[in-house]
Symmetry: C2
DNA sequence: TCGTGTATTTACCAAATGGTCAAAAACACG
DNA sequence: CGTGTTTTTGACCATTTGGTAAATACACGA
């Protein structure tokens, strides 16, 4: 019949799997793994619970599938960091890409945050296998830039942490930010602020003054 | 008998309530509200489940009690910001206090993060009633410092966000950091890094060079 | 030591939840 | 249209979970 081990999924299969994963992303990101229920996911997806279990082996598999897909999306901006590019430009662009992701993919950010918060029980292998090597490599690249005097010398690891922390904050702590900012769109102002902060941090001392806000 | 409406709790009551809250902090911070079970809390506290419900009206009340207590702790460092002090010193000390809290009270940080991540369903009133006014007041103070030329001019709100994000990151994303840093204590290095970053950001342009790392 | 209010446990319960299964319905296609 | 396959459903099930009621054990002052 088919010489492939796995039949290629039908149109209906693709559509329903996509619906389920999208609904699951909604629910998991809002309530965490244990807080999410199959009934919620089913309702959100517009399918019955047994129908969902026809497409996935169980709650766990849905979650794992989401996390695997997420890891790719999550690494992208860091992969896009070009060792041949201009150091300061590259890093500021990286900050912007991460911030854009907080605006465009807040559910994914919260799914990730939920998983890490709870000790990364399902994602730990991914972190070690995928994120760690990339992280180490990027630290070497950044360190080389600093050694060449093209960036102010700071700990590259904590630099990356601070970029992650400040950008993802706008997605993960959105509920708090909405209370404190009363409905203004925070991302534009955040972009200004973060670009200033990281430019000031990273501009090497001998390259002339950092671009100070309020000072042209 | 007693002219007070509420009898003062016995020694046993105080001890057991403390045990329960401590156990609940463990469990809630590790699994979130819905992921935590009374059985887990009971076992962790060394009490039976009905015994726990003898001291608290239900799971919800335990959680709410924790969040209320947490809010005080959480506001403390911001309250301690002295409008009369030296601006740069005050803000850098604030960063340090927040970072110390990430090291000393990681469970509390994760409890808070969990709650906000899920949309702050139980904490929203506290945020509006307690955090928001303090936040607004501190923004005014910081803005005044900037207007007086004692700090570089940036958006005070996003400045505070970035301090929260970078410091709490070390508690909330500990699982990830442990994978990436392989067991070194990150807080000391983080302290160096963050002090440098925020000093560079906040030192006003005309006050002489910011303290650049690697440059004495 | 006794009696009374406090503390703890044992045995439950109802609802929620992840999951199963067989049969029905819908569908693709010659 | 008819037939074989895929998809969907309704009825169920076992376990977990938050919570209760009543009985028992305990502390401690009179």
């Amino acid at each position: 019949m088919d010489d492939q081990l796995v039949k290629k999924p039908s149109r209906i299969q693709r559509r329903n799997r996509r619906r389920i994963l999208d609904a699951a992303l909604d629910v998991f990101s809002a309530h965490g793994f244990r807080g999410a229920t199959l009934d919620q996911i089913a309702e959100q997806a517009g399918l019955s619970k047994p129908n969902i279990l026809y497409y996935f082996d169980g709650k766990e598999e849905i979650h794992v599938t989401l996390l695997s897909q997420l890891m790719e999306t999550w690494l992208d901006p860091l992969i896009a960091l070009d060792p041949q590019g201009d150091p300061l430009t590259e890093l500021l662009a990286y900050v912007q890409r991460k911030l854009d992701m907080s605006r465009d993919l807040p559910r994914e950010s919260r799914l990730f945050a939920n998983e890490i918060l709870q000790g990364a029980p399902r994602m730990d292998p991914h972190l070690r296998a995928d994120l760690k090597p990339l992280f180490d490599d990027r630290c070497v690249v950044i360190q080389a830039w600093m050694d060449a005097g093209k960036l102010a010398a700071v700990d590259p690891r904590h630099l990356i942490f601070s970029i992650w922390a400040t950008t993802q904050h706008y997605a993960d702590f959105q509920a708090q930010i909405e209370v404190l900012l009363e409905g203004q769109d925070p991302i534009d102002a955040a972009s200004q602020f973060l670009q200033t902060m990281f430019r000031n941090l990273l501009t090497p001392a001998d390259t002339g003054a950092a671009h100070r806000p309020g000072v042209i």
